[in-house]
């Protein structure tokens, strides 16, 4: 019994070892494919992590992330990969039942479906379900090598052979084992060859074909000397020892036994080293895990930081836009300020000009008064009383002119500063005209100008009393100024729909079209007068226009040179809004 027990014992181990070596080759093809896939599913964080851990052989982490991925994804291919990872991971952890379940969940369209069969077959061997294993291997036995993607034909055949061997179907076993041996000889795969030789030898040995078996054992033993794998050496030597023992060649058997013991020790050492390495690996894994959690924490911190960056970015953008708009506003304001400055400069120039004209006019009238006064006192001294009346009249004319100029100036200033009282009320034009004209009686008399107030007592306009008087004063004053001796001035109204037109008509010098248009212009600039000898700045008419505007009125001029002028002001009959 011992004779059989031992070979069977090591056969088993060989198979499981085969599985490992086989997987190593497989992985290279798988790994490539997995990298490609992970790029394809780059958005799937869990999958990416799963494949990372898978390639790093961190089986537990792989199981965790594949679980997560399966629970959230419904992409069949992705899930199949996950099952593959899980199956492999369980397999590595020797949880064969779980591994089998995972593998069986994989759909038939999966790229690595054949590999799965291989896995399932291997698992079946592990679970001693040799018949099942055979059926799995048979499925993939005859497939094209290219299609097998890293599957080793010899491994399949070897596994098949081994399975038959276990089932004691020696015919089939011999066929497959020899086939795989041939292949391995072809590829010079020493390690596998030793195992195959071992298995073939065991097969023959079990059939009591010692003569065929022993050369295989020897072959295995001699080859084992060239490999470093203690386990393989140990098994080969042990086989030899058993064979020699059975041949009753105890001396040789003892030598083999001793060698076997030696290799066993080495293996134990190796195992111990392996265990230490395992522990180290575990520690390393733990450290890695720590690193991972640290990285995760760091990631969280980074995410938080990113959020902070995002918010601060948004805030900065907002700040920037505020700054930009305020800058724009500033530019706009500056532009407004510039135009205002230009306007102010213009107004200031006008004011300066007004000053110079007014002061010039006042100076000349005061000067005229001075000379007239000295003439007056001279006449008094010489008792030449005849000229006194004429001189006094000249004086009063000068003073009247100067007074009206000053009056206009005052009202102009008040109008500009808007300090003056202003109230629009109903006015009877007739009385206003009467009151205004009353002041000009002496002047009219002096120039012998006939004056007619033909305004109807029923003519009512809405205006501010004081400004209306100022307007009328200026118009009457002008009319007298521009009238010849023995002229005629007529004031009358023309009734329009919403307005009453008040016409001040004289038969004086009149004016040309250019002057007329100049006077009606909306400018603040004063036109210089040609009519020398009389005081005036054009301020009066400007004042009239401004005041009329305030009273919702308008000014029009009709004039003909040498025939006379009609100054027409139109004022509303009813209260205006605003």
């Amino acid at each position: 019994m011992i004779k059989y027990k031992n070979p069977i014992f090591f056969l088993f181990v060989i198979i499981s070892n085969l599985l490992f070596s086989q997987q190593k080759q497989e992985e290279t093809a798988l790994n490539k494919e997995i990298r490609v896939k992970s790029n394809q599913f780059i958005g799937e964080k869990n999958f990416k992590k799963a494949q990372f851990f898978f390639l790093q052989k961190e089986w537990d982490s792989t199981l965790v992330y594949t679980m997560k991925q399966i629970s959230i994804s419904n992409n069949t291919e992705l899930i199949d990969y996950c099952f593959l990872f899980r199956g492999h991971s369980f397999n590595e952890k020797k949880l064969f039942e779980e591994a089998k379940q995972e593998f069986q969940k994989i759909s038939k369209n999966f790229n690595f479906y054949l590999q799965i069969k291989m896995y399932l077959g291997n698992i079946a061997i592990e679970q001693k379900a040799f018949k099942k294993a055979i059926s799995y291997f048979k499925e993939i036995e005859h497939l094209n090598v290219y299609q097998n993607l890293g599957l080793n034909q010899s491994s399949i055949e070897h596994n098949l052979g081994t399975s038959y061997l276990h089932l004691k179907e020696f015919g089939q076993a011999e066929l497959y084992l020899l086939k795989s041996t041939k292949r391995q000889e072809m590829f010079k795969d020493t390690l596998r060859l030793i195992r195959s030789y071992g298995n073939v030898a065991s097969m023959y040995y079990e059939q009591y074909k010692d003569k065929v078996a022993i050369p295989y054992f020897q072959k295995a033993y001699s080859l084992s000397k060239y490999v470093k794998d203690f386990d393989v050496k140990r098994r080969a030597v042990k086989n030899m020892a058993v064979v020699e023992e059975n041949r009753k060649d105890f001396a040789k058997a003892l030598v083999y036994r001793k060698e076997y013991e030696r290799w066993n020790d080495s293996l134990n050492n190796q195992n111990r080293i392996y265990e230490t390495a395992q522990i180290e690996k575990k520690i390393a894994v733990e450290q890695k895990q720590k690193q991972v959690t640290f990285l995760q924490a760091e990631n969280k911190v980074k995410e938080a930081q990113n959020k902070v960056y995002l918010y601060s970015g948004v805030f900065l953008l907002f700040l920037l836009s505020v700054l930009f708009s305020s800058y724009k506003g500033k530019v706009k304001r500056n532009r407004i300020i510039t135009t205002q400055k230009e306007n102010l400069d213009e107004l200031n120039a006008t004011k300066d000009k007004l000053f110079s004209i007014v002061s010039h006019d006042l100076r000349s009238s005061v000067h005229a008064l001075k000379t007239s006064n000295s003439a007056l006192s001279e006449s008094l001294v010489t008792k030449n009383f005849n000229v006194l009346e004429g001189l006094l009249q000249t004086n009063s004319a000068i003073v009247n002119g100067a007074y009206s100029l000053l009056d206009n100036l005052l009202h102009w200033a008040l109008l500009q500063t808007k300090q003056s009282y202003f109230e629009i009320a109903s006015m009877r034009l007739f009385f206003i005209v009467e009151q205004v004209a009353h002041n000009y009686k002496p002047l009219l008399l002096e120039k012998n100008i006939s004056f007619e107030n033909k305004v109807l007592k029923s003519d009512v306009v809405y205006a501010d009393q004081e400004s209306l008087k100022i307007i009328l004063r200026n118009l009457v004053d002008n009319a007298i100024k521009f009238s010849n001796q023995n002229g005629a001035i007529k004031i009358y109204t023309r009734n329009k729909d919403a307005h009453i037109e008040l016409v001040v008509e004289d038969r004086g010098f009149g004016m040309d079209e250019m002057t007329r248009l100049e006077l009606l212009k909306e400018t603040v600039l004063l036109s210089k007068k040609k009519n020398d000898g009389t005081i005036g700045t054009g301020l009066g008419l400007q004042l009239c226009k401004s005041m009329l505007k305030k009273n919702h009125g308008k000014l029009a001029i009709e004039s003909e040179l040498e025939k006379g002028t009609k100054m027409i002001i139109s004022l509303p009959k009813n209260l205006q809004n605003g």
């Binding site: 008040l414 808007k418 300090q419 003056s420 009282y421 202003f422 109230e423 009877r428 007739f430 009385f431 009467e434 009151q435 009353h438 002041n439 007592k457 029923s458 004081e466």
Partner: protein, 250 residues
């Protein structure tokens, strides 16, 4: 007809002299010239003669006491009189304050004769709330509770209503007959009838309005009313109810 009495409040003698001259030439009677707020109040309340109109200079010695005066007399509704403000400035703030002393009339210095006369008429019209009487030219009389203010020439005259014996209406003219005189005024019938509502006047005929105080004797048979001063008025059947209203000796 009596002259209208005017009180002048003005601190500058030159100004008040000019004013007095203008007023006198137009048959107004200046009953006093006050130079300060105090004087003005004294003159206003203690005058022997009834004051009809006040002309107020806003600035008395540099402060707007004129407005204060107007505010003071306005405080007693029954005692107040029409007034005109005089000022040489058109300062808006001052005007806004002055404007509160309704009715508001003002005149900017310097002013001419026409302007002051116009301002006085406006003041009377506005005060008795009978606008556009003198100015429209269609009427010439403003009625107060005591007087008729009648435009005569460029000025105003007044007639004590209680002195009127009877009024004879002829279209838009009214003959006013008093103890002393007889004259014609231009007034609308509506206004005259208003007069009847609150005084002793009674309508005795389409054309006659009689002061019941002046009735001496009523002779219904002849449709005749004898009035004091030997005046006679007609009593038409339509208005015979009058007899019941009048106190008679019988």
């Amino acid at each position: 007809m009596d002259n209208v009495n005017i009180l002048i409040i003005e601190d500058t003698a030159a100004e008040s002299d000019k004013l007095v001259q203008v007023l006198k030439t137009n048959n107004y009677k200046v009953v006093g010239i006050a130079k300060t707020y105090k004087e003005a109040l004294a003159a206003f309340y203690a005058s022997d003669e009834k004051i009809d109109i006040v002309i107020i200079d806003i600035f008395l010695n540099g402060i707007p006491d004129g407005i204060t005066f107007a505010e003071t007399i306005n405080a007693v509704p029954g005692e107040t009189k029409p007034f005109v403000f005089l000022t040489s400035s058109t300062d808006r703030q001052i005007f806004e304050r002055a404007k509160l002393t309704q009715p508001f009339n003002y005149l900017i210095k310097p002013f001419n004769e026409f302007e002051i006369l116009y301002a006085i008429e406006m003041a009377v019209e506005k005060f008795y709330a009978q606008n556009d009487v003198f100015l429209s030219g269609e009427e010439d009389t403003v009625i107060s509770s005591e007087y008729l203010f009648i435009k005569k020439g460029r000025g105003l005259k007044k007639v004590l209503i209680s002195e009127i014996i009877y009024i004879e209406v002829e279209e838009k003219y009214c003959n006013i007959i008093t103890e002393k005189e007889k004259f014609v005024i231009l007034i609308s019938l509506v206004k005259i009838l208003d007069l009847l509502n609150n005084t002793n006047f009674c309508r005795t005929h389409r054309n006659f309005i009689v002061n019941t105080e002046k009735i001496m004797e009523i002779i219904p048979a002849d449709n005749l009313i004898l009035l004091s001063g030997n005046h006679k008025a007609t009593l038409s059947d339509k208005y015979k109810d009058l007899i019941k209203k009048v106190r008679t000796l019988t």
